[in-house]
Every structure is written in C-alpha cells, then in structure tokens.
C-alpha cells in the first residue's frame, strides 16, 4: 500500500476525485477567495475593487458595530455555553434511570434539537409577545405583573439579550443532556461503589469519581456549543432582527448583513475571516486543552 503507484482508475478513486474536486470548488476555493477579498475594498454598490492591504482589519477596531457585535457574541456564547452545560448535566443526572417515565422526559428535552432555529424563533416570539404572549399572560395570572402590565421582552435591550440567551439554552439543552447521559452510562458502577465503601457521601462521589469521568462529554458539549453560538444567526433574525437598536446583533449577523445587504464584500470577508479564526482557535485550542483533562481509568 505504501509504494508510490500511478493513479488507478477504479470506482473508489474516481468517486473520491469527483467528491474532492466538488469540495475544493464549493468550500476551499471560496475560503481562499474570502481571504483575498478581505484585503480589498470590494464593494458592489461603489463598484470599487482594489487592494488595500490590511486596512479592513484595522477599520474593524474602530468600527463600533463590530466591537458591539463581537461583545454581544462573546457574552452570549460564554453564558449560554456555561448554563446549558450545567443545565444539561443536572438534567442528565436526574434522568439517568431506566424506565419509560424517564425516556418520555428525555424525549421532551431533546425535541427542540429536531426543530429548525426558524421555528424555534417563531415559537418563542409568540411566547414573548408583550400583549398576547403566553409568558406575560401567565405572569399576569399569577399576579407578578399587573393585569394590564406588559413586559416588553423583545423590546428592551437587556431583556431582549436575556430572551435570546434563554432560547439558545432551550434549543441546545437536549444535546448536552444526551451527551452527558451517554457519558454517565460509561461511569463504572464499581468505582462509585468503591467510593461509597470508603465513606464518600453522594456529593463527594459525584465530584471526585463521576465528574472527572464525564470530561469527554464536557469536551464535546463545550466545543460544539461554542461553535454553534459563534454562528448564531437564524434565531436573532426571527426573534429580534438585531433590535432594539442593534443591541442583539451577533457577529455572524453583522457579517451577513454587510456582505449581502450593504454589499461591502471586502469588509464582510475580513470579518468572516476573523470569525473563522476565532472558531478554529476555539475548536483546536480549547478542544486540546479539554481533552488533556480527560482521565483514563
């Protein structure tokens, strides 16, 4: 197998070649083109397209919108990743039982994973509508707000950000839960028994025995959630359309808007490159760090 051979004309090599060429054409070549665009002032409206060096990257630093979208993206990403992991782990611990009761509950938590973000965004927009939404209706019924009280969930910057965070957690909780459930099932019972025999209480057993063994689950959940959140677009578009006053605009949304609505292709490409680098660093760096913490037993 190792010796150098001429290209063999068989099913595998032909199919593989077509597939790779397609991938190069659709993904790799455009990726390189984007890098190239990012050093130009390519703009469809002004019909400019010349090489401007790293100026796009410098303008980002002085672009208030870029800074605020980056801040929004990092903030929501960190909060959602953290809270979804905690929530998913707690639910997984509670659901780590056999029986149809638990499997029904597991299904409830997983269903949002099957729905499209667009559907999720609309369901929650309906829920959070200030006059007719279920959330305010329920709050009125239990008397937390007056009978004519309206909390404008999507109309005030902080509450809109909070709403987006809650919806993202709701969407991804099932994923974390399922991954943690699988990890929990991989924790050998005799290790937990041994800890019990040694006099550990259930918290100590969890903290010292179970939790370290969940590390592979943590790696998957943290990396996948971070990547998901850095690409956040659909839910924002449906729920807030970046409002109020741009307070819920994500970086991915800003890139898309610049590229396809404002038509500043060069600048959008530069920001897309930054987004790509952030995601690549997270997947590679954090993934490596988290994997190094995984223990063998």
């Amino acid at each position: 197998m190792k010796s150098k051979r001429r290209f063999q004309f068989d099913y595998i090599s032909v199919t593989m070649t077509i597939g790779i060429l397609l991938y190069l054409a659709v993904l790799i070549l455009p990726l390189l083109l984007s890098f190239f665009y990012s050093f130009t002032n390519f703009n469809l409206l002004n019909a400019t397209n010349s090489f401007i060096g790293a100026r796009n990257y410098v303008s980002m630093l002085n672009d208030d919108t870029f800074v605020s979208t980056l801040r929004f993206t990092i903030g929501t990403t960190v909060i959602v990743t953290l809270l979804t992991n905690i929530f998913g782990l707690v639910i997984a611990l509670a659901l780590n039982q056999t029986g149809s009761f638990y499997s029904v509950l597991r299904t409830v938590f997983f269903i949002p994973q099957v729905l499209s973000s667009v559907v999720i965004g609309f369901i929650w927009s309906g829920m959070l509508n200030s006059e007719r939404g279920l959330v305010n209706t329920l709050l009125r019924q239990v008397g937390l707000i007056g009978t004519d009280g309206n909390i404008s969930w999507l109309g005030t910057p902080n509450l809109a950000t909070l709403s987006v965070i809650v919806v993202c957690i709701w969407q991804m909780a099932g994923f974390c839960t399922v991954v943690y459930l699988a990890a929990l099932q991989g924790v050998p019972q005799d290790l937990k028994d041994a800890a019990n025999v040694d006099g550990a209480n259930s918290w100590q057993t969890f903290y010292n025995v179970t939790f370290p063994l969940l590390a592979p689950g943590v790696t998957v959940n943290v990396v996948i959630l971070l990547i998901m959140m850095f690409k956040l677009y659909d839910i924002i578009l449906v729920m807030t359309a970046t409002g109020p006053a741009g307070s819920t605009e994500s970086l991915a949304f800003y890139v898309t808007r610049m590229a396809f609505t404002v038509n500043k292709v060069g600048y959008a490409s530069a920001m897309a490159v930054v987004l790509f680098i952030i995601i690549a660093m997270i997947s590679a760096g954090l993934g490596k760090f988290l994997r190094s913490r995984e223990v063998e037993y």
């Binding site: 199919t15 597939g19 659709v26 984007s34 665009y37 559907v119 490409s269 995601i279």
Partner: protein, 276 residues
C-alpha cells in the same frame, strides 16, 4: 431519604413541564381558532379544527406546499450524493496512511468549523456573475460540496477504520471489482455510520436556513424553512393559529423521522460522530 426522592421527582417533573410548555402550546394551538387561542392559550383544542393546517397548505402563494416539496427533493438528492462521495473518500482515508490522506483530513477538518458566511460571500459573487443565483441545482451543488460533506467523511473514515480489511481482500481475491466489493460486501457493514450520516444530514439540510435564504433569494422557489419565514414575515397582525400550523407542518417530517429512528439518533450523537 424517601421524601427527598419524591421532592426531587416533583422538581424534575416541574422543570420538564416548564421546558415543554412552548412545545405543548405550539401543538394544541395548531388545532384552535384565533379566538380560542387568545381566550385560552393553554386550553385543550375543543372544538378541534384542522382549518389552520388546511389554510397553511392551501395558501394562494403555495409557500408552504412548495417548500415541503423543494425541501424533500433537496434532502433526498443531497444525502444521496453526499453518501456516495463521503463513503468513497472516507474509505480511502481509512485504508491509506500517507501524507496525502493526512492532508485530506486537514482539508476536511476546515469544513467542520467554517462559518457558512465565509464561503457564501465568494460563492454569491461567482453565482451572480454566471447567473446561477436563485437556481435550485446550483444550491444543491453547494449543499453537496459544503461542510456537510466533511462531517460525513469523518463519520465514514472513523467507522471504516474499525472494519477488518480481510473482508475486502477476500472479495477482491474472489474476483470482485472495487465497485462490487464496496457496495455488495463493505457498504452493508457500514450501516451504523450510514444511519448517523443520513439522519443528521437530513435533519440539518431540512432545517437549514441561511444557505437557501442567500442562494435562492425571495420569489425563486423556497425551502420549507424559507417558506415559513417568508409567510410569517408577511403577517401584519399575528394569526397564531396559522403560525403554529405552519411550524407544525415544517417540523412534522423531522419529528416523525426522529421518533422512528430515536435509537440511531442518540447512538449517532454519541458514537463520536460529532467529536471531529
């Protein structure tokens, strides 16, 4: 200890109910009239109406009905081609250990973490130049050759590494060609990998929004998510019954798919398929 257990059970049920409330609301309100929904959003649908579903499917602009058809064709065609390409590439990577395969793996790794915007920006420029924007087949090509292919390649290469090579050698010695060996002997053994690929790709492609939004553009045919987005964007006052009915129609195929293959779904999630 026993009361503790009962309390924790109750808390668990409460959390599940709160978590499931949006889902419950979407389901019951699909079958209610606007008046019923506004009067009692959580009530059971009595009397029961199918009008919302019928209205959504029978819209004069056909956004929902056409969306269903387009998305079905898109999912079937993309998954079909991705399985063919990715299984061959995955097979090659699994069975060779050269600088070339290492390079290939690195190349496909990029596809897993790339934000779609970065390749959509140049693609849109190219498509505009050649008048390919708004065409279903050019969108299909982007779906087949994009990041989803990467995912499938890693699932197949990871899985094939654990399939003993003797199976293939025996088939080749018996006079089978590579095509016969691959599809008759090897492919049936790859069932779990194929299940994971088919399930997740179908789900992701069905629910994908950004690609069709950018590549199809308004008015040039819609996928189901695009159809839902466009029809709901047009409503000036929210007709909740309509809204929930559309979302029900958009979600039902994948929900049915999920309930039919729940085991494979969960197994796929945990097989390391997503650990890239």
């Amino acid at each position: 200890m026993n009361t503790n257990r009962i309390i924790s059970q109750l808390v668990l049920i409460l959390v599940t109910v709160v978590f499931g409330l949006p889902l419950y609301m979407a389901v019951v309100n699909t079958f209610k009239t606007q008046e019923q929904i506004l009067a009692d959003p959580l009530g059971f649908p009595a009397p029961f109406t199918l009008e919302n579903l019928a209205n959504a499917l029978g819209r004069p602009d056909h956004l929902i009905a056409r969306g269903l058809l387009t998305s079905t064709i898109l999912v079937v065609a993309s998954v079909f081609f991705i399985v063919i390409f990715s299984s061959a590439i995955g097979y090659y990577i699994a069975r060779h250990n050269t600088r070339f395969t290492k390079g290939l793996q690195l190349l496909f790794l990029a596809g897993l973490m790339i934000p779609s915007q970065i390749y959509l920006i140049p693609i849109v420029q190219i498509f505009r130049k050649f008048h390919l924007i708004g065409s279903f087949s050019s969108m299909l090509v982007v779906f087949i050759g994009g990041g989803l292919l990467s995912f499938a390649v890693f699932v197949y290469s990871g899985f094939i590494k654990n399939v003993p090579v003797e199976v293939e050698e025996a088939a080749l010695i018996d006079g089978a060609n590579k095509f016969q060996m691959f599809w008759i002997i090897l492919f049936p053994l790859l069932r779990p990998a194929t299940a994971a690929v088919v399930i997740f790709l179908s789900l992701w492609i069905w629910n994908e929004f950004l690609l069709p939004l950018i590549l199809l553009g308004p008015g040039k045919g819609v996928t189901i998510t695009l159809g839902v987005y466009m029809s709901l964007g047009q409503l000036y006052t929210i007709n909740y019954g309509q809204m929930f009915a559309m979302m029900m129609i958009a979600s039902l195929p994948m929900l049915a798919f999920f309930f039919a293959f729940q085991k494979e779904f969960i197994a796929g999630l945990n097989s390391g398929a997503l650990k890239g």
